[in-house]
Structures are given as C-alpha cells and as structure tokens.
C-alpha cells in the first residue's frame, strides 16, 4: 500500500486555486481585526463606566458577544469580543467553506475531476495534499487576525492592550473551531457531486452552532439549548478566560481536535471508496 505522502505538485495546484480567496479574506480579516482592536476598548471602557445596566441588557450583550462582557479588564473583554465577533467568525467560516468544498464537489461540477483523478496519486494522497494546502492557508488566515489585533492595539491606550502571548492560545482555540467547520466542509464535499449542497450543509451547521450558543447564553435555563449546546462549536471556544488568565482549556481543545480528526477521517474514507462520475 502506498503511503499517503503529500504530493508537492498537488499542493501547489491547491494553493494556486485558493490564492486569491486566502489573500482577500486575510486582508479583510486583518483590517476588521485591527478596527475592532482600535474601537472596542473605548466602547467597553464606556460600558464599564455605567453604574446601572438595565436587566436583560447584560444577558443580551453576552449572548451576542458570546462572552461575559462585564467581568475582566477592559482590554481582555474588548479583545475577547473582537476574537469572537460574528464578522470574524463568518469570514473564517467562509474561508473554510470555500477552500474545503473544492475536493471533490467543485472538481466534479466543473468537470476537472477526470483530469485530476487520472493522475498517478492515490485518492488518499490527493486528500492529504489538499489538507496540507488548506492548513497552510488556514495559518495565513488566522495569523492575519492576530496581526490585525496587534496592529490595531498600537493606537490605543497601552493599559487596554491584551497579553499577546495569551492571545496565541485564543487563536489556537479559534483555529480548532475553524478546522471543525472546515472538516465538515471536506466531508460534505466528498459525499456530494454538487458544491452548492456541500456549502449549504456547512453553512447550516455553522448557523446552528451560532444560534444554539446565542440562545443558551441569553437564557441558560432553556432546556433544549442546554441539551444541544454540546453540538455548537462555539461552546468550546471561550476566549476571555484564556486571554485574561492564560489558562489552556484542554478539554475544549481535545473535543475540537477530536471532532476535526473524526470528520477528516470519515471524509478520507468516503473519498477513497466512492465511485466518481461526472455530471
């Protein structure tokens, strides 16, 4: 049995195909992260100066922001908000979906799968090569968020700047959330011949995750959200504790990594065993 060693030619092809998506989204993420890093500390400082917060406002704010927005320093809370902001999550998810639905659905849809699979590489080696290219682009995307936060923080009160070493932990946690979304995309993409279906499936998963997390944070007493929240990827992503204390939530990391590996393995098995017909 041939070892599934990544093929440099296939990695190069995958990177070339995803180049513009990665560059444009990483540029957008850098800019948005920088803007949030610049603006949010001011907003949070004003919020925390209020002596009275109407009932429900705190809960709603926490639900929208997915963190406890009242305990912690201004900088920690502001940057936690930045790193869990819906726009950041949405753009990350978009990148994962665009890149990870290429193999196999996009290739079948545009008819290039005949040329691709006629090459002398095993399907597993193809999948490993695509994954390697994807993870490289993931590094660029995630680094751009970190770099944007760092850049934006240069223009604020130094007291509001977070610990950037701790921020690496948060980015690592975010990376695992991203890989779960991406591996869902891989699994959907090798199962269907239509890219639209794969994209829709992953979008639904992501929206479900955000919604369940939002509802649970808004009202933790809701029974059905309590039961379902373990299915939300955002339940395993809590930036404020990591940012303020530098603690590594090993359980969350383990759950996300385990989910990613499982989904990736299922996708690999499916790709190796399935028949491929063109549309």
């Amino acid at each position: 049995m041939q070892l599934p060693i990544p093929n440099l030619g296939l990695i190069h092809r995958a990177l070339r195909e995803t180049l513009w998506t990665t560059l444009s989204l990483s540029g957008a993420l850098f800019a948005i992260a920088a803007l949030l890093a610049y603006a949010l500390p001011r907003v949070q400082a004003r919020f925390m100066q209020r002596q009275f917060i109407p009932p429900g406002v705190r809960e709603f704010r926490n639900a929208v922001l997915c963190i406890d927005s009242t305990s912690g320093s201004v900088g920690d809370i502001a940057f936690s908000i930045a790193l869990v902001h819906p726009i950041i999550i949405a753009l990350l998810a978009a990148h994962a979906i665009i890149v990870c639905t290429r193999i196999l659905a996009a290739e079948v849809e545009r008819g290039t799968v005949d040329v691709l699979l006629a090459l002398p590489v095993t399907r597993l080696a193809l999948f490993v090569s695509e994954t390697a290219a994807w993870l490289f682009t993931a590094f660029i995307i995630l680094f751009s968020i970190y770099a944007g936060c760092y850049f934006g923080s240069r223009f604020i009160n130094p007291d509001y700047r977070p610990n950037f070493t701790n921020m690496i932990l948060v980015i690592s946690n975010l990376a695992l959330v991203y890989t779960v979304i991406g591996t869902f995309g891989l699994l959907a993409s090798v199962t269907t011949d239509r890219r639209v279906r794969a994209v829709l499936f992953v979008m639904l998963i992501t929206i479900f995750s955000v919604l369940i997390n939002f509802l649970y944070t808004l009202d933790p007493s809701l029974e059905f959200t309590k039961r379902l929240k373990f299915l939300s990827v955002l339940d395993y992503y809590k930036p404020s504790a990591m940012l303020s204390k530098g603690t590594i939530p090993w359980r969350d990391f383990g759950n996300l990594a385990g989910a990613s590996m499982t989904l990736w393995t299922l996708a690999a098995i499916r790709l190796v065993r399935r028949d491929v017909t063109t549309l």
């Binding site: 030619g9 092809r13 195909e17």
Partner: protein, 293 residues
C-alpha cells in the same frame, strides 16, 4: 504469448438498477491500436472509467498492465495517459505551466516531449486555458496525455474539436507510438478514423460486447456488399446463388451481401446478362449498422 495491456474479465458495472456494462470480456494486446465503438449510452465511457479507477466493478475484474484497475489505480496511472470525452482544465493554467505541474505531480520529465508535441500540434504553450478555444484545449489535453510517453493510452474521442490537419497529425503520432510498443485504446464515433487507424476493434451495444476482432475478421463474418445491374430484365426463376442474401431485388438491380466463396458468385454471374457488378468490402459504418440492427 502476447502480453496484454488490458484484460476485462466478466466485467459488470451497474448504477443501481441501470446497467452500465454487463459481463464484458475484452483483451487488448500490448503495442496495438484498439478501437472501441458504440453509440451514446452503450457503455464505452463506463468501461473507460472502470479502467481508470473512477468506478469500482460491480462484479468481474478489470486489469491493465498487469495491475488491478481499482486497487492499484495510482500505480497503473503512472504508465497511463488519458483524455476524457469532455475535457476540462483549470482555467488559470497555461500550456507550459500545465506541463510543469503535471511533471511535478507525475515526478517525470514531460516538458521536452511536451514541447515537441506542441510543435507538431501547433499549440502555443503560453496561452492560458481560459483563453483557449475548444480545439486548443483538446490539443493541450492530448499533449498532457502523451508527453510522459505512457505505455498505455486510453483516449475517449481524442479527435474531438480538432481540424482535419490536426487529426492527421494525431493519427501519425498514435501510429508511431503503437509501432514503438505503446498501446492505444480509444473510443470514437468517427468510424473512418477507427477504420484507418485500428488493427482491432470492439463494438459495444447496450453494455455488452457484440463484436471483437480485426476488421478483416469482422468483415468476413458479415460478407461483402454486392450490387448487380442487369442488361436485360432479371428472370424471377434465376436461383440466387448460395451465400448471396438479397436486401433489394428488382428486375434491373439486385443488391445484397455475399459471404462464402466468391467463385460461386462469379460463376453465377458469368452466365447471366450482367451490365455491371460491384463487389466491395463492407466499410466500418455498414459493419457497425449491421451489428446494431
């Protein structure tokens, strides 16, 4: 003992309740030019996709170059060049970047031979695929299939979109490759080109092989085309000679096919008021239609 480039043994591939190919047995010798004919939906592309490891056989086996087409697909494809019936390439490629990319993936030198082929097929390798016409893309696909000098070529309608001059050039290239010991297996609807190029053909109908052999063998089975014009009205009492099957009979013309010893026919005609007679080998189109009727 002839080495076989392709061995299909009781090969069946179904799509749920729909048949693709059914109990196909086919052997293709190494170094031969083999034509694979059939109308749309007959199962040609299914057979090719099984050979290339895209589809797993439902039952039976498919082997090429002594390896299993499904389980050892990657190993097989190192020595195979193929072009699909509907070729699509990534639009950002140029000819030269495609050769570099494929050479990198195949871990074989392809650029020198690719450039030679590009000259022969008159393709500018600097043009990006998104700006190429269909014919140009087809040329590039052929170059990518041939440049690594594969032992086995599996070509699905290779001359699609090529002009007659390029079709000639391609035929010359394929003949040269077959002479050098490479095997060419191709499916085509262009019967004239198959007739000109191939030593052996197989005809597939509704998923099964209905004919498999050299053109001469197949023609011998089917007979010769005979057309007789009579000087004076043909007598209804004239016995039709053995071996002659008439498809059309009037007082002035007889038309049909003759199989068997042609001397019987000639002896019959010698004593009759024949104005004109034509005895010709069945062409491939007629052969093809016969197997389909």
């Amino acid at each position: 003992m002839t080495n076989l480039a392709i061995e299909l043994s009781h090969l069946t591939r179904t799509y749920g309740s729909r048949r693709g190919i059914s109990d196909v047995n086919l052997n293709v010798a190494e170094g031969s030019l083999f034509g694979f004919l059939g109308p749309n939906g007959a199962g040609k592309t299914t057979a090719i996709r099984v050979l290339l490891g895209f589809l797993r056989p439902t039952t039976g086996t498919a082997r090429a170059l002594n390896v299993d087409c499904w389980h050892d697909s990657a190993r097989l494809k190192a020595d195979v060049g193929s072009i699909p019936g509907d070729l699509r390439l990534w639009p950002w490629l140029t000819g030269i970047s495609a050769l570099k990319l494929f050479a990198s993936i195949r871990r074989r030198e392809m650029i020198p031979q690719g450039k030679i082929l590009a000259d022969e097929l008159e393709l500018d390798l600097a043009v990006p695929v998104r700006k190429m016409s269909r014919g140009m893309r087809q040329k590039l696909g052929l170059i990518l299939a041939l440049a690594h000098q594969p032992r086995l070529l599996i070509l699905d309608e290779p001359t699609t979109a090529l002009d007659p001059l390029m079709q000639d050039r391609l035929r010359k290239i394929l003949r040269k490759m077959a002479t050098a010991g490479h095997t060419v297996f191709f499916s085509s609807h262009t019967l004239g080109e198959v007739e000109e190029l191939c030593e052996r053909i197989a005809i597939v109908k509704q998923g099964q092989i209905v004919a498999d052999g050299t053109l001469d063998d197949l023609r011998a089975n089917v007979g010769r085309e005979v057309a007789i014009a009579w000087q004076s009205p043909a007598d209804a009492s004239w016995p039709v000679p053995s071996g002659l099957t008439l498809t059309s009979r009037t007082q002035s013309h007889w038309q049909g096919t003759h199989s068997g010893d042609p001397r019987d026919l000639l002896a019959f005609l010698a004593s009759k008021p024949v104005q004109d007679v034509s005895i010709t080998k069945v062409d491939l189109e007629t052969l093809f239609r016969r197997f389909y009727e």
